[in-house]
Symmetry: C2
Subunit: 190 residues, 2 copies
Amino acid sequence: MDKINLGSTIPAYPMPVSIVGTIVNGKANFMAVAWFTMVSYKPPRIAIALGKGHFTNPGIKENKTFSISLPSEDMVEITDFCGIVTGKKTDKSEIFDVFYGELETAPLIKECPLSMECKLVDTVVSGLNEIFIGEIVGTYTEERFLTDGKLDVGKMKPFLLSQPDTAYWGLGEPIAKAWSIGKKFKERLK
Amino acid sequence: MDKINLGSTIPAYPMPVSIVGTIVNGKANFMAVAWFTMVSYKPPRIAIALGKGHFTNPGIKENKTFSISLPSEDMVEITDFCGIVTGKKTDKSEIFDVFYGELETAPLIKECPLSMECKLVDTVVSGLNEIFIGEIVGTYTEERFLTDGKLDVGKMKPFLLSQPDTAYWGLGEPIAKAWSIGKKFKERLK
């Protein structure tokens, strides 16, 4: 089990893929983003990390809102398109069926099983990136993605990106119950 | 396609699962963390969002270092254990085979296919959480997880957590090439 040190580099791991929606110059724009995470439980807040030069950033700063939608596997082509084509050159305002929730400047995507509208609460600069922290004010889905009233990831069919090898991955099968399977290890430790 | 608004809530999506390593009170401690994301490409930086009350946080603040390791599917029990048992009550310093890289206070896990050692560069408070931004100074793996010299997610077999339904998921199959499949959509748009 000899370890190799690859040095100071971008690691490989599966990152869920999202589409961030903003209004830029009066029009909806969409960008594929895999660098995001929940950062607060109460109130629910989510952070996205974007390179400073993106077309999206000024829209977030101006309107202090953005949306984050989780596409399903069958949307892999259009999602990747949102990642490789910049809003600076291509109008992406009509590629999705757009709707709005409470916020007037956070365009949500009807085709996505899950869309969140966010109010910007903080901006943090790190290296060449801007981290936008948004408070989730609305969470939109459809009945068909729920099981017993809860969002069901298995029905949503999200997909994931690994970066150095630039591959999209489907989600596999449930393998264990969280906050539960670890009890077996705990028992053995006694 | 009627949308339902679940309100201001924690969304469901698959989050890669990591184990964060720190030195607390002179001993290695490990905590399961799914709230993390890359935030900077150059230099490579990764952010983790932890509830303020965790045993881990003072260790990060004191040493200004932490590690983040990606466990494989066969480590789901011990990883969940690290999530449900606090270092305040249980000494977790000997549950893994620990090694160190450049940093003396970022314990790395031999059993994990990928371990990164990080230097703390920024701390951001958001709600009841602290976001620790770390610069990746070393990235440890083994030859058997590489393909053509690059980390191969398929060989690493990481797993994912979805939160409201508290399930762990395996990774599925590669479904498309990233920064590539979207060109098909672009062609059709012309």
